[in-house]
């Protein structure tokens, strides 16, 4: 993807990533702030192609892992896998409705939390950090997915994402 459309994607990604880090790291809001990094990744992955999406996922994952001392790599795996899967959905689903976008964001964010939970278990030092599946993934992950999808719709409307997705 080239041209103004591509520029718009990268601008939205950069702005969302900046706000995410400002809210979560700068202001220490933690889960109180929506997961805008995953939102940016999910929105961009359907626009920029498989390779770039995977690279973006790896970069975002490493940024989050930089502050996750004992589960280093779990976010990188989760974000890269989600980026690849999201990029591939473009070949499988050509959604152009808000309903599709909400479902896509909900499933994308929840899948990211599931993969992260599984990947933390692979890290020997981080296994003890993992909370029970029901607590961390089903309850907290479910709420976070709804929260992120709600914000995602507003972002998509404001930035024009999904209108032609």
């Amino acid at each position: 993807m080239t041209g103004p459309g591509s520029r718009r994607v990268w601008v939205v990604v950069a702005v969302l990533a900046g706000i995410h880090l400002l809210l979560r790291v700068g202001f220490s809001y933690g889960p109180g702030a929506p997961d805008l990094l995953t939102l940016a990744l999910l929105l961009a992955s359907r626009e920029v192609g498989l390779g770039r999406a995977a690279g973006l996922g790896l970069l975002f994952g490493l940024l989050e892992d930089a502050l996750s001392v004992l589960s280093f790599g779990a976010n990188a795996v989760a974000m890269t896998v989600i980026a690849c899967a999201s990029a591939l959905t473009k070949d499988l689903f050509v959604g152009d409705s808000r309903v599709f976008l909400v479902s896509y964001l909900l499933i994308g964010k929840w899948s990211r939390d599931v993969i992260h939970w599984v990947a933390v278990g692979w890290v020997e030092a981080g296994a003890g950090l993992r909370q029970p599946f029901v607590d961390q993934v089903v309850i907290q992950g479910g709420i976070a997915s709804v929260y992120m999808a709600g914000v995602g719709i507003l972002v998509a409307i404001a930035s024009g994402f999904g209108a032609e997705a």
């Binding site: 979560r24 700068g26 202001f27 220490s28 498989l50 779990a74």
Partner: protein, 284 residues
Amino acid sequence: MAPYGTEPESNGRRRDLIAAGVFLVVAFSTLFLSQPTQQTISTGLQVSVLRPFMGVQRRLAAARIRAAQADSMLARIDSLSEMLASHSALVDENRTLRGLLELSERAGPQYLPATVLRPGTPGSESMFIVDVGRRDGIRNNAPVVGPFGLVGVIREVREGDAVGMDWTHPDFRASAMLEDGSAFGLVERDPGDFREEDRLVLNGIPFNLEVVEGAMVVTSGLGGIYPRGIPIGRVGGQNDAEGEWRKSYWLEPVVQPGAATHVLVLTEGASPGVSGLWAPDSIR
């Protein structure tokens, strides 16, 4: 005429697949990198891309402290003190700072006051960053204490700051004893079904010894990490008994890590015993 018109698209697709495959392999390999390599990458990102955001957090924390100090002074000199004192968050922070100040005076220069920053990213639970580092004399495994007792321990020291873990971390262990020295054991975290249910357990107490509820448990000084005498928690009841030779007890921690915003960090060369620092009335 272009009989092979789809070839460039096919090449681009192949390049995309190869790139994605490489990124996936790199992502999975990060899980299995050695800890020093992981720390190098983390530190690299923290001092580059994440630096402005961590700077914001640091400045906000400093601003909060300044605001608290200013409020505290105002509260002393004008008639608004009653109204301000009723503000529970401010009262709590004042109490913490005052307790820390008194403790700092008793502890002397071997303990450095520090502000606790908590990264809000997934996987960073139980970890915190303090704004003192190697240049201030902080070393790895330095104990971190608050006005009421043990908060945690430093895991990784950098030039200007350090990463620590609090007692809710699964790797947390502390050699401990009853305050009167009648029994020694090991304190570790017992994870609850939910994070808020995490508790501390004192293991290895002789079976024939009856420990009364409410007895204070302090660090024993064994193991060389924590100096002797730092309060950890109060005995809250018996947890388990192994055969007929030892028991374990629940502890009610004296420090709630989430409430620890200002702490003291032990510097190199500090004295091994700190029993006198926590006066009985300062321990909850």
